[in-house]
């Protein structure tokens, strides 16, 4: 089953939603016009990819990055997209950073939980040093039991 680039369409529902939100209320769109816009969007992505790839190759890089795409937009005469795209990119980076911090925080909380369980055993003594001693003593107790 050979996949041709023309067959790679973006989901119709999302395209329709974007169109409807861009236009005033009460305006409709025919099925032919909608599918033509969908295909146009795919062609746009392919063309932008090709342009961005040229910039990447100029920079002797094999991986397309965000600035390649932004340069491609200017090359394609879509300068008006550059500012909103930069803002979207910053928001995306903040979100990615937030996700990373959230997962790191979860890991920290997990470690904290393990520590607090050991603290509960030695609640009578509030001394930190004693807690350390207790941790060392536990394995010793096990050894005594084995004997």
């Amino acid at each position: 089953m050979a996949e041709r680039p023309e067959d790679l369409n973006l989901p119709n529902a999302v395209i329709t939603r974007i169109i409807k939100e861009a236009l005033p209320d009460g305006v409709n769109i025919s099925k032919e016009a909608r599918s033509a816009i969908s295909r146009a969007a795919s062609v746009f992505v392919l063309y932008a990819t090709s342009c961005a790839n040229n910039f990447a190759m100029k920079g002797k890089r094999k991986t397309l990055n965000a600035s390649d795409v932004l340069s491609a937009m200017e090359e394609m005469e879509f300068q008006r997209f550059v500012t909103p795209l930069k803002e979207a990119l910053e928001a995306y980076r903040r979100e990615q950073k937030g996700k990373k911090e959230a997962s790191e925080q979860k890991k920290k909380d997990k470690d904290k939980k393990t520590d607090s369980e050991e603290q509960d055993k030695s609640r009578d003594e509030d001394n930190d040093e004693d807690e350390d001693r207790l941790e060392e003593e536990e394995p010793n107790e096990e050894e005594e039991v084995d004997n």
Binding site: K31, A33, T49, V69, A88
Partner: protein, 116 residues
């Protein structure tokens, strides 16, 4: 015959009348809380990018910006096409409005001949 959706006379409809997709498209795992940032599924955009034989790899940020750019593009071309429909005092965007917009706007020149 199947009930015609409001505004569409074609009996063959792939989606429901409200525009909601009957079959949800495959979504990339990144599209949950950040759905506001990009509505187009990044997996589909990535598939388009990979379709280019010259492209080796594309970073996640690049895919995201391409998706967002495609959304902006759809908004732009829809609005430009609507101007043509308005002139014809119509409230439904037709295929010919799109063709007129492509011919009229220089930036859309790359689309000529690709939509047939």
């Amino acid at each position: 015959m199947a009930a015609a959706a409001a505004g569409n006379g074609t009996p063959r409809e792939e989606e429901g009348p409200s525009g909601e997709a009957a079959a949800p498209p495959p979504q990339a795992p990144t599209s949950v809380p950040g759905a506001r940032l990009s509505r187009l599924p990044l997996a589909r955009v990535k598939a388009l990018v990979k379709a280019d034989p010259d492209v080796t790899l594309a970073g996640q940020e690049a895919i995201f910006i391409l998706a967002r750019a495609a959304e902006l593009f759809v908004e732009t071309i829809a609005k430009d096409a609507y101007c043509c429909a308005q002139q014809g005092k119509r409230k439904t965007l037709q295929r010919r409005d799109l063709d007129n917009a492509i011919e009229a706007v220089d930036e859309f020149a790359f689309l000529e001949g690709t939509l047939d």
